[in-house]
Amino acid sequence: MKILVVDDESIVLESCKRVLEDCFEVIPARSADAALEVIRREPVGVILLDIKMPGKDGMSLLREVKEKWPNIPVIVMSGYATNETVEQVSRTEAATFIAKPFTPDELVDAVAKVIEKEGKP
């Protein structure tokens, strides 16, 4: 399965890749435009999205993705893990939320949960 990771920080992209590459094909994208290009080109199973990115921000990308490809689950990452942000994000159509910094276990659990949910109709 292909997992698209969208974040403007390369350390985050590398960490995700390192954690997930054993089980998945991890495709990094540095910007929303790059991410869209990937989604159009290839069948993506899960999207890991950093909610704050300069330029085209994460929220609008999230909406666009959900509009055009509603079946792809999106996991939102954020460096601001406050109750508010959690609340706000939960109102969007993200599948789940993880806060940075996360441990490899947390990341894997999140992905597994999302895929499991996806499996159930």
Binding site: E9, R18, K52, D57, G79, Y80, T82, E84, P101, F102
Partner: protein, 641 residues
């Protein structure tokens, strides 16, 4: 405004003085008139009494001189013997002593035997009736008093007398129109004494004075009663004897200089005195001057009213006195009014000047000064006002300092929050890397215990860092609302004043339209202030010089889903507006149109969070180029748990 206050004070002082002056003038004038003229009238009345006395005395004098004569023996003899020449001689003597104009002696039947005057020894031809003699014979005793004698009689006594008695009647305005043109009878004061000897009536001795054109009596009366007092070159007193209603003896001056003989008395006097026999006092125009006059009837020996005795006092003296007094009243009033004006000016100044200074001081405070000059402190209520003003300005200054401090504090807090959030975010990315790689390493099976232990240490330390950063993030915002009853209008005012200077520097105007009777709202004051500040700061960023930001509040007719009442707060700006594609992302966390590092994009999301935690909503309307309006609805009672 100041001039009208001063003039009001002066006007009221003047008004009072004027009123008082007028009242005292009227009252005083009235009393004065009454008393002065009353006095004058009394005086004239009394003068009339005196004149009457004198008149009566004259009659008595005539009586006496005749009476004494009848007692003389020589006289009796002459009469008995009808010695006419002796009688003439004696009569002459009596007349001289008594000042008589006529005198005579009759026989026991009333026929004149002898008289003084031209026809001293009358013949037997028919004689004119002699009323005094007739009465004396009738009463058989002394008769005396006023007697009107016919022209005939007078002529027979002495033609000169008849001539003297003749008075042409002068038409007088105010008198009853008369048929006669001339008075021919004479008004006399006469006496008749029956001469008795040994019980036998021998005859009647008579004599008297003709009042017509007589000057002695009226002048003597004037001299005695008025003591020849003069006023402005004229005698103040007048005496008159009227035969019927014609002046026959008087010292009232005629228009041509002489005495006003022949003029007539006014109609009302004639009616009251001559016809009704009353005493009459009045103010009258006599010839040319105004007099206070008094009249009484002259009755003859048969008690018939034959004439009038009149007295007059020149009114002018009294009238002048009255005017002089009134004039001094007027002068006093005027002086009082002048004084009132001065006093009013002075008093007004004392009140206005401190007020002036306070007004100037208020203007200074408006312009920003905290040390306005209110001038020297007066006394009394003005001092209280001045001191209260000073305290108020001091309190203002303190509050302004406080709000400055609070602004600095909240700005600092906000910037700490922003810093913390920014730093936290920045740290979290590389921290992700550290944490994941450390854990990945820990998963390897080919680590010796030492390496594993060291890695474990690193992992734990990294965990701690994660917790610290999270704590930092949590600290930078208090999420639990601290509720109290808040007057939102005042909250908005203080928020506006916090950003006042910034708005001023930017040239953007701020307007507040507070709602009337706005309900109090249960809310966290600081959090809500950050909501208002956040929207205001965004508005300031969106506006340019000349634009306006308008705050308004109102009690809302709308209720929320929990059926709560609420208020509406609206913040409208005339700035650049928000493009529609941004509108639905506005409250997203991390949505920002600013560059990296210039805004976290958290402001509006935090703002929305606060409003929602209070149970409220925010709506935005905007048009590019025209401006934006943020409408906040918040329930009075806060969020229902």
């Amino acid at each position: 405004m100041f001039y009208s206050f001063r003039s009001k004070i002066i006007a009221s002082f003047l008004g009072v003085t004027f009123l008082v002056g007028i009242v005292s003038l009227l009252v005083g004038g009235h009393l004065l008139t009454k008393s002065v003229l009353g006095e004058a009238r009394n005086r004239v009345s009394q003068d009339l009494n005196a004149a009457r006395e004198m008149y009566d005395n004259r009659v008595r004098m005539i009586e006496v001189s005749l009476n004494i004569t009848t007692l003389g023996y020589g006289f009796i003899v002459a009469l008995k013997e009808k010695d006419t020449s002796d009688l003439v001689f004696r009569l002459g003597r009596i007349a001289q002593y008594g000042g008589l104009d006529f005198a005579g002696i009759t026989d026991e039947k009333g026929q004149t035997i002898s008289r003084i005057g031209s026809h001293s020894i009358p013949g037997k031809k028919s004689q004119s009736p002699n009323p005094i003699v007739t009465l004396a014979l009738e009463k058989k005793t002394l008769a005396s008093g006023a007697v009107v004698l016919s022209e005939e009689f007078l002529n027979s006594e002495n033609p000169q007398l008849a001539e003297r008695a003749r008075v042409d009647i002068v038409p007088t305005p105010g008198a009853t129109p008369a048929a006669e043109k001339v008075v021919t009878s004479g008004l006399t004061l006469s006496a008749g004494v029956p001469v008795l000897h040994e019980g036998q009536l021998l005859g009647v001795l008579y004599g008297g004075i003709l009042l017509n054109r007589d000057e002695k009596i009226v002048d003597t009366v004037r001299g005695t009663v008025f003591r020849n007092e003069e006023y402005k070159g004229r005698s103040i007193g007048r005496a008159t004897i009227f035969l019927k209603d014609v002046r026959v003896a008087t010292n009232v001056p005629a228009q041509d200089g002489g005495r006003a003989i022949g003029t007539r008395v006014a109609e009302d006097v004639r009616e009251h005195v001559l016809e009704k026999g009353e005493r009459w006092t009045k103010q009258a125009m006599v010839i040319t001057d105004w007099y206070i006059t008094a009249y009484e009837p002259i009755k003859d020996i048969s008690d018939k009213i034959v004439g009038i005795l009149g007295m007059g006092v020149l009114e002018e003296k009294y009238v002048d006195l009255r005017w002089r007094t009134l004039a001094s009243f007027v002068l006093i009033t005027l002086a009082g009014m002048a004084l009132a004006t001065l006093l009013g000016c002075f008093l007004a100044g004392r009140i206005i000047n401190p007020v002036h200074r306070l007004i100037r001081a208020s203007q200074q405070v408006t312009e920003g000064s905290l040390t306005p000059d209110i001038g020297p402190v007066s006394s009394g209520e003005m001092a209280v006002l001045q001191n209260t003003f000073k305290e108020m300005v001091a309190a203002m200054g303190r509050r302004r300092a406080e709000s400055q401090d609070r602004l600095v504090l909240s700005e600092r807090q906000a910037s700490v929050g922003r810093l913390a959030a920014g730093v936290a975010h920045e740290i979290n990315n590389p921290l992700t890397g550290v944490l994941t790689y450390t854990h990945m390493l820990l998963r390897r099976k080919d680590l010796n215990e030492e390496v594993r232990a060291d890695l474990q240490t690193i992992a734990e330390a990294t965990e701690r860092v994660r917790k610290i950063v999270k704590g930092l993030l949590d600290f930078s915002r208090q999420t639990k609302p601290d509720r109290e009853q808040v007057d939102v209008n005042r909250l908005i005012s203080s928020t506006m004043s916090l950003m006042e200077n910034q708005a001023l520097l930017k040239g953007v105007g701020m307007v507040f339209k507070p709602g009337h009777d706005l309900h109090m709202v249960n809310m966290d004051r600081n959090q809500f202030q950050s909501v208002l500040l956040n929207i205001l700061i965004n508005a300031l960023d969106a506006t340019k010089p000349g634009d306006t930001i308008t705050f308004s509040t109102a009690n809302s007719p709308v209720r929320n889903e929990a059926d709560q009442e609420g208020i509406e707060i609206s913040i409208a700006d005339t700035g650049c507006g928000i493009p529609s594609e941004h509108l639905n992302k506005l409250f997203d966390p991390f949505f920002t149109t600013k560059e990296v590092g210039h805004g976290t994009g958290l402001g509006l999301s935090v703002t929305l969070g606060i409003v929602q935690r209070h149970g409220g909503t925010i709506q935005v309307a905007s048009e590019v180029g025209k401006g934006s309006t943020f409408a906040i609805w918040v329930p009075l009672e806060g969020r229902v748990k």
